[in-house]
Amino acid sequence: MTFKSKSGKSKLGGALLAAVMSATALQGAFAADDTIKIGVLHSLSGTMAISETTLKDVMLMLVAEQNKKGGVLGKKLEAVVVDPASDWPLFAEKARQLISQDKVAAVFGCWTSSSRKSVLPVFEELNSILFYPVQYEGEESSRNIFYTGAAPNQQAIPAVDYLAKKEGVKRWVLAGTDYVYPQTTNKILKAYLMSKGVAESDIMVNYTPFGHSDWQTIVSDIKKFGSAGKKTAVVSTINGDANVPFYKELGNQGIKAEDIPVVAFSVGEEELAGLDTKPLVGHLAAWNYFQSVDADVNAEFIKEWHAFTKNDKRVTNDPMEAAYIGFNAWVKAVEAAGTTNTDAVLDSIIGVSVPNLSGGTSTVMPNHHITKPVLIGEIQADGQFDIVQETAPVVGDEWSDYLPDSKNLISDWRKPMSCGNFNVASGKCGGKGS
């Protein structure tokens, strides 16, 4: 396509030529495709809309920005937005629709692990690509999925290290919502803490149902557990919605961050937007990005976001950065491959480095996870985080080293290995290989 050359030519003839050519291109467009479609698969209604709608907006913004820069491979991008309505089987149905009916080149979407598990077989069967932008429990590596959110070692373990070292924490409450991400993360953390010499009696694990709103008993239990004379901290894998009442109860029962700090893995700027954070100052969160990151690229991103949403109060958060990285990595891989063909992109994307929003770069690794720095932030009175620690970029570890059955597994999707669960002990692909 010759749109790029058009601006270069100043002569009337050149402009005419371009006009004619663009007219023919336009004619062809209806028969062939002059746009590249990408799918956006985020719930816009139902329980998950609260988190996922933002990511849909981010994707639309990224597509608009990319189109301003001339699109991809000289074609405009077109986002196909569907609403899987927080209904997991509907995710699979919509994924199938996006891939086989709308013929999208890649899909950006999902939030919960359930939704990802629901669409995974569809992506593998129809050989398409999914970019998954949310932190998750690990223990998965699909040929067709890129995990741009944090694996447990990119979030949980550095946070625990920070608390143990900088706050001198000796006693741990692992509080989570009763579902797979908290269960797995807590299993990993427990194994990790015990490998560091923490006694089992110094670890309290507590689970609550989804959307739990009465935290009185649990907060007072935490208080009780914390009054054993050792420095205590709470590691919270409490799911988004339940956090607001949890923090309100913490504030009201007078648990200050100086006494029992809470470090959360699911609480970001967006969740805090529904809270008065003054009583929470000093509680922590671990992510790979905070809105308060001091970097030019971040300032630029926030500005675009405010302009795009026409609301300068909208916050940015970590999954948005993950979506940003995933999108840019895909664009770069497509341009390197010269096609949107799935196999070609899967080959070309490994090793692609794109800027992340914390001022560095993130690289897509052969295990389909990416490198990112881990940031620990303390909640501020204005609902933002003050970054108290930043690590060097960490490679996402899909198979945790702290779970007995996954410590021998690695994933490498480069040829000739092309395996998501290679067992280094037995030297075979396919788990235990027994």
Partner: protein, 389 residues
């Protein structure tokens, strides 16, 4: 006697419906498999999977209609039976993965491996046999319905109270299945299936067979339901719905009648769930959500409760609309859905099929009345019109 039972079921409209269903059941897979993808009459796999899902929902709605439309039990927990059937099928499919799971454990499903299960929980045993699993598909929902109904109907819990405790039942199951310690994969549920009876679940051929099975089971259940409601038992059933005390005074054991219907209905829902799972590729606790069960009620109401065809049409229409609107107007589809429910209850209180029937009947009655006025009317026309109801 049995032939009489079945024969009565095959009243004209049911025959037509079964014919259409089986026709679809054969034609859709045939068009999917036998025509080239670029042909105008080709049905893409995507559409077939979608429609297969609708057929499962239709079966679920039919099951609900049997208890609600004919027995007056508004169950707000039918999703639970559906999900249990689905889980039974899902467990079979999980066991078929065998050593192809990501950890390569030949016995334990993946989620058990990373949650440190040492051995298979007792309730997972036997699910590697297809026959056993298929038996469980109807036994488990049937048993739950039996226990639940045994207590509830004996204590004469009815009306709104019954609806609310069925909702409590599915809600409790939702919370229970969410728990990882239950051994059903927690909120992620069961997924990443590979084979069913040795055939890949992702192969077009398998999908075609599953689709046909869905249409077939729906047809069979339709015949069964029709047989039930047209039998003598069915007349009593309607009596229970309309005047429970009176039927009781006449000497019928109302609780047994209700219990039987409730159990049959739960088994149908279980079958629907079992067919649903391999076609959508996942079963998780979301299916237990009370809102899902309410939606089933809505499909039935939209189509027309107390008619057997209505729920099938309702389920297909509402879900088709949902698929279309969530794709075409993701931002506003809830307005459309909500508006539809209000409109149907206000303007089509008998549902689509019920209204059409009513309209037909009214026309018959009008015609009969006109004939009678002309002095040529005879009782048979009116009786026919009534029989058509």
């Amino acid at each position: 006697m049995i032939s009489g039972f079945v024969f009565r079921a095959l009243e004209g409209r049911i025959v037509a419906a079964v014919g259409i269903l089986l026709g679809i059941g054969i034609l859709v897979p045939a068009l999917n498999l036998l025509t080239p993808p670029d042909s105008a009459i080709h049905i893409p796999t995507y559409a077939m999977a979608l429609f297969g899902k609708y057929l499962c929902y239709a079966l679920l709605a039919l099951a609900l209609d049997l208890v609600w439309g004919y027995c007056g039990i508004l169950s707000l927990g039918h999703g639970a039976f559906f999900a249990l059937g689905g889980y039974a099928m899902g467990m079979y499919l999980m066991r078929q993965i065998g050593p192809r799971g990501v950890y390569g454990n030949p016995i334990l499903p993946d989620f058990m491996v990373f949650l440190n299960y040492k051995e298979l929980p007792w309730f997972w045993h036997g699910f590697d046999w297809f026959i056993f699993a298929m038996a469980m598909v109807i036994v488990v929902p049937g048993l739950l319905a039996f226990i639940f109904g045994w207590f509830a109907f004996r204590s004469r819990v009815n009306g709104v109270y019954l609806s609310i405790i069925t909702q409590a039942m599915t809600y409790a199951l939702l919370l229970a299945f969410f728990r990882n310690d239950m051994g059903f994969g927690g909120n992620n549920g069961l997924t990443d299936f590979k084979d069913i009876l040795g055939f890949s679940v992702q192969a077009d051929g398998t999908r075609a067979v599953l689709f046909f099975m869905s249409a077939l089971m729906l047809s069979l259940c339709l015949i069964l339901a029709s047989a039930i409601v047209r039998s003598k038992f069915g007349k009593v059933l309607v009596g229970v719905r309309d005047a429970e005390s009176r039927v009781r005074f006449l000497g019928f054991r109302v609780e047994n009648i209700k219990l039987f219907t409730f159990v049959v209905s739960a088994m149908m829902a279980g079958i629907a769930g079992a067919l649903f799972v391999p076609q959508v590729g996942i079963i998780n606790p979301g299916e237990f959500a009370p809102a899902n069960s309410i939606e089933v009620v809505v499909w039935t109401a939209v189509g027309g409760r107390g008619t057997l065809i209505g729920p099938i049409i309702g389920a297909i229409l509402v879900n088709g609309g949902k698929s279309f609107f969530t794709g075409a107007f993701p931002e506003i589809w809830l307005f459309a859905l909500g508006g539809l429910f209000i409109a149907v209850t206000l303007f089509l209180p008998k549902g689509i099929v019920g209204t059409i029937q009513h309209g037909l009947k009214a026309r018959h009655a009008l015609k009969a009345a006109a004939d009678a006025e002309k002095g040529r009317g005879d009782a048979t026309t009116v009786a026919q019109a009534q029989a058509a109801e």
